[in-house]
Symmetry: C2
């Protein structure tokens, strides 16, 4: 391993500390409400260092949104590759996993949606990061529905995205367990496209 790699490893460590602390604080307390001073204290990093990696707070927010997406991707990969599942089963597993995430009471909604609520029309880079997140989410469903013998798999994927999004938003506000049978609803949605 070359010096440069070691150096960038050190850099990445600090960067990671910052992004991780910021991610936690942003999800729990919101973006505007979280000051950079607190982030720097929680991440054990000096302000100078912070502003070397992230010249502005919004740069950090963009990085956090990408971190959020990557984390979700890893989680999905872990869940989906665990067993040998059919495409339909994979879709059901995604919803089952989401339902669990929504139910724990400390769920704070989709970070990309929250960011959009605070920065829509104000910071194009953040808006883009939010859109990238949702586009990626949609592509996950599209990959799966296209493996299914259904008509209009893209439409089906969009419906699934709508469903998971709606469940998340309601969970965020209501903090009540979801009263409906998700498996049944998802299966019905899929069956309709056969």
């Amino acid at each position: 391993m070359s010096d440069q790699n070691q150096a960038s490893l050190r850099k990445d460590t600090k960067r990671r500390q910052i992004v991780l602390a910021a991610f936690k604080l942003f999800t729990e307390n919101g973006f505007y409400a979280t000051g950079v001073d607190l982030i720097m204290r929680q991440s054990q990093v000096s302000k100078r260092t912070m502003y070397i990696y992230f010249p502005t707070k919004n740069d950090l927010i963009v990085a956090v949104l990408e971190f959020y997406r990557a984390g979700y991707e890893n989680k999905l990969n872990a869940v989906l590759t665990r067993q040998d599942l059919s495409s339909r089963e994979k879709i059901l597993v995604i919803f089952d996993d989401a339902k669990n995430g929504f139910a724990n009471g400390h769920f704070h909604g989709c970070l990309a949606v929250n960011a959009m609520g605070e920065f829509a029309g104000k910071d194009p880079a953040i808006e883009t990061a939010c859109r990238v997140f949702k586009t990626w989410e949609l592509s996950i469903f599209e990959e799966l529905t296209k493996e299914l013998p259904v008509r209009h798999p893209q439409d089906l994927a969009f419906k699934l995205l709508v469903l998971i999004e709606g469940l998340g938003a309601i969970a965020q506000v209501m903090k009540q367990p979801c009263p409906i049978d998700l498996d049944q609803m998802v299966n019905a949605l899929i069956d309709e496209h056969y």
Copy 2:
């Protein structure tokens, strides 16, 4: 009309000005990002007056959320009582109306969801106002599904709420026209409960 009524009419005018300006600014720029000074300038009201009606900014936010709900209620009443519609048609009209609202490109998402994103775990009164909004939304669907000869009308109402919520969240982030046939999807959702 007594003095007191006239007086409270004047009061209500100022109050309304404040709430209306705040509503606009909050929806367009977010809650934390909108300062009270701007609100007071836009509403043509002195700061003193503002703080007589709303001792804290959060009090104003709660009032704005209720204003938002009442406005939605009026809009729905106007749309639903215009013609003699069946319950199923009324549900379809709600989604049609929502789709139009989401499509105009200046849609900023559900204000209650956005507020939850910024104030969850911080201000109980605001949290309650958000939950009241969603509970009311659900009750609208429940009223309609209960007039339908379906099994489990409450579950159906919840599914419809999930659907409209998901469409809103996606519209807020993606700013693309909804690619799916909503009438078909809603009808399928209802038919499944027959």
